[in-house]
């Protein structure tokens, strides 16, 4: 029964994909809704069942579908295992996935390619489930590539716009760079441990020596994979561009689930990372650097989705910082809370964009709180959660990260940067909030007349997500409250040998108090700037000095273009003009010439004269005799 559930969870979205993918454009919306939302919802219910079984102390549930790759000593099964970690990811994917499916039925209502959109969404859910449920690295990799594919398809969903196609290609190519690291990491694991099965590898690794250089290299390679998928420096530039996709896609793929795949992978391989403090330190440094870097860019963005995109990059940086210091549960904690509040924020943004008839620039918004009350309240909750106001979920996870990083040996510098970043986060989020929902409306009259609250299919998911965004922090209360840390207890069987980092109660209190004061200050300042003084961000062309740098995202895209794209294009132009033309074509043509000329020559022998043929036969016989009796 349990194994059947394990099989059904990924199978249902796949069935939904296949059926809705084969429907034509005229297909009934109700049918598609029922199919796609229904399949994900059933998967969600099944995931809940599994979750409760694991919660009540059941062993991880496995299901082996088939013998997959049996070559020599390599034995890979296509098999699934649901343990505590997978179970949490399952709940996030199917739960939030279901809410976003429902949301999409409202958001994409007028889309001609309705069936295609939903089939892609279901396919994405399927691959994401494969990613988290597989019980070896290769199944994870299949899911990993699959979600990359779906991300590509959905970013470029409106493929008639070339800029969107470029964004899709960018996401795909950037991910490939990371995937290469993941692949190499997998090969190294196979080489070192002789298996790719999680259980086997981790059992062997738990006996390995700390600071084994091979393990460090493996960890770094896997981390490169995570860098690509989770949009960290230096492979983060695809994520802001990925906002070209429909907003539900941004919420589901580029905020809640797919981009956390890198975090999932590192938590999954925590045994290896614990063995390699160097790799862990690298992860932490990259995470912290990305967090700060992306947050500063977020300060100057004026596109509502771009702000959220950079915020996602920044929050993912937080998670990596937590993983890097060895606080894997805390990283997962932030994945959970982030999934709720960032999905919520994106969906609210979608609702706003929907109301604004496609307008995404916050300089044209303002004063929307009266017209969109539900969106406003839920967005506000999301803002509070991401900024870390107690008792919203972001507060607990973020403070736990800060505390853990502070306890990390030599982590004070990292802690300081993260703390500053959290202030910046609050700043740009409140800036976004005030500019969008307060002040006077700055759009044109057409937009003003069209402003309306979104339909129920959009608002209900918002409300549900807001509830979770507000309350999800309760699963990980700090020690201060003397309540059990539910998440840590649940995840305990998955995290092996991780170092314990416990902040003292007084530090936690100090952290809470200080963050409250600072956040209140930030709220007040941003209110003064953007509401009381109604300062509107200037047009991009008018930016000066450092702010121009920041507004242009530090010219990182231009840098990559100059450093990598241009030389590559120069090389390929050269190859096209010379190597292709003279070497490749030359070789092929010379073979053509050789065959042609050769056959013209040899054809002369075939005269059709039987007499000559007989001569040939006789001479051949003579040669055979000579060869047989004198040469052999």
């Amino acid at each position: 029964m349990d194994s059947l559930i394990v099989l059904l969870i990924p199978l249902l979205p796949l069935i939904g994909f296949i059926i809705s993918g084969t429907l034509n454009k005229q297909a009934n919306h109700t049918l598609i809704n029922g199919l796609t939302c229904g399949s994900v919802f059933v998967s969600f219910l099944l995931s809940v069942i599994l979750f409760y079984q694991l919660q009540s102390g059941s062993a991880p549930i496995s299901y082996k579908l088939l013998n997959w790759i049996y070559v020599g000593a390599l034995k890979l099964d296509l098999s699934f295992t649901v343990d505590a970690l997978s179970s949490i990811m399952l709940l996030i994917i199917t739960g939030i996935g279901f809410l976003i499916h429902v949301y999409s039925t409202g958001y994409m209502h007028d889309e001609p390619d309705y069936a295609r959109f939903f089939s892609y969404l279901n396919l994405f859910v399927f691959f994401m489930l494969l990613l988290v449920m597989g019980n070896n690295f290769v199944v994870m990799f299949v899911g990993w590539e699959g979600v990359g594919l779906c991300s590509y398809l959905l970013i470029g969903f409106w493929f008639k716009n070339n800029a969107y196609n470029d964004a899709a290609k960018k996401a795909f190519v950037m991910n490939r760079i990371g995937d290469l690291g993941f692949l190499i990491g997998m090969f190294l694991i196979l080489n070192k441990f002789g298996s790719l099965n999680y259980q086997t590898v981790f059992d062997l690794a738990s006996h390995a020596a700390t600071n084994d250089p091979t393990i460090t290299v493996i960890c770094i390679c896997l981390f490169i994979g995570a860098l690509g998928k989770s949009a960290q420096i230096p492979l983060y530039t695809w994520l802001p561009d990925a906002m070209a996709g429909p907003t539900p896609v941004s919420a589901l793929i580029h905020a809640a689930t797919m981009v956390t795949a890198g975090i999932y992978m590192i938590v999954r391989t925590n045994v290896l990372y614990t063995l390699s403090p160097d790799a862990g330190f690298l992860v932490a440094v990259m995470g912290v650097a990305t967090a700060l870097f992306a947050a500063t860019i977020g300060l100057k963005q004026n596109d509502i989705k771009k702000v959220l995109a950079y915020s996602t990059v920044s929050q993912l940086g937080y998670m990596f910082a937590a993983l890097g210091v060895g606080a894997y549960e805390t990283g997962m904690f932030h994945v959970i809370t982030h999934a709720f509040f960032k999905a919520l924020l994106f969906l609210c943004a979608g609702s706003v964009i929907h109301a604004m008839s496609g307008e995404q620039d916050i300089r044209s918004m303002g004063g929307l709180r009266k017209k969109l009350p539900i969106t406003h309240i839920t967005f506000f909750i999301g803002t509070l959660a991401i900024s870390g106001f107690p008792p919203f979920s972001g507060f607990f996870s973020k403070d736990e990260i800060l505390a853990k990083v502070h306890e990390y040996n030599g982590g004070f510098m990292l802690f300081t940067i993260l703390a500053i970043t959290s202030v910046i986060t609050a700043f740009y989020m409140f800036r976004l909030y005030w500019l969008t929902f307060w002040g006077n409306f700055r759009g044109n009259s057409h937009q003003a007349s069209h402003l309306h609250e979104s339909p129920k299919s959009i608002t209900i998911p918002l409300i549900l997500l807001a509830v979770f965004a507000a309350s999800a922090g309760l699963i990980g209360l700090p020690h201060l409250f003397h309540a059990p840390h539910l998440l840590n207890n649940f995840l305990a069987p998955v995290i092996i040998n991780a170092p314990t980092l416990e902040a003292s109660a007084s530090f936690e209190i100090a952290l809470i108090v200080v963050s409250l004061i600072v956040l209140a200050l930030v709220t007040y300042i941003t209110y003064q700037i953007y509401v009381a003084k109604a300062r509107i961000p200037v047009a991009d062309a008018d930016e000066k000095g450092i702010s121009k740098w920041v507004a242009n995202k530090y010219y990182i895209d231009e840098l990559y273009n100059a450093l990598i794209t241009q030389p590559l294009q120069a090389v390929s132009t050269f190859a096209n003009n010379y190597i292709e033309k003279y070497v490749i074509d030359g070789t092929v043509n010379s073979f053509r010439w050789l065959t042609n000329t050769g056959s013209l020559l040899i054809r002369q022998i075939q005269t059709g004269s039987i007499g000559l043929y007989i001569f040939g036969i006789v001479i051949g016989i003579i040669c055979m005799f000579v060869f047989k009796f004198y040469l052999a």
């Binding site: 075939q606 059709g608 004269s609 039987i610 007499g611 007989i614 006789v618």
Partner: protein, 105 residues
């Protein structure tokens, strides 16, 4: 007395080699297809002589049976070959092998 023990098996080998070579030379020398067929018969008979000689030498009748088969096959071959030649003559007015030059590209 046995002839082979008197003249030696090698004499038969020489004879067969010479007859065979004459046959081959005839095939190369002449252009008349009928005479070429006859030269082929000569070559076959060179082999026949050897078969019989070795059959007697080894006291094994299989060689003579083989000659019998060769004769049968030669008869069949000549029947068909001559039929083809008649057809060819009918179509081309000649049995000269040089008139048959269509067997090419």
């Amino acid at each position: 007395m046995n002839i082979i023990s008197e003249v030696g098996i090698n004499s038969y080998l020489w004879l067969a080699a010479i007859l065979f070579s004459i046959g081959v030379m005839g095939v190369l020398f002449r252009r008349n297809a009928i005479i070429i067929l006859m030269c082929i018969e000569l070559m076959l008979n060179a082999v026949n002589i050897l078969f019989v000689a070795f059959s007697v030498m080894h006291n094994n009748p299989a060689g003579q049976i083989m000659v019998f088969f060769i004769m049968a096959v030669a008869a069949a071959e000549v029947a068909v070959g001559l039929a083809i030649l008649i057809l060819m003559y009918r179509n081309m007015g000649s049995v000269d092998i040089d008139t048959m030059k269509k067997l090419k590209w």
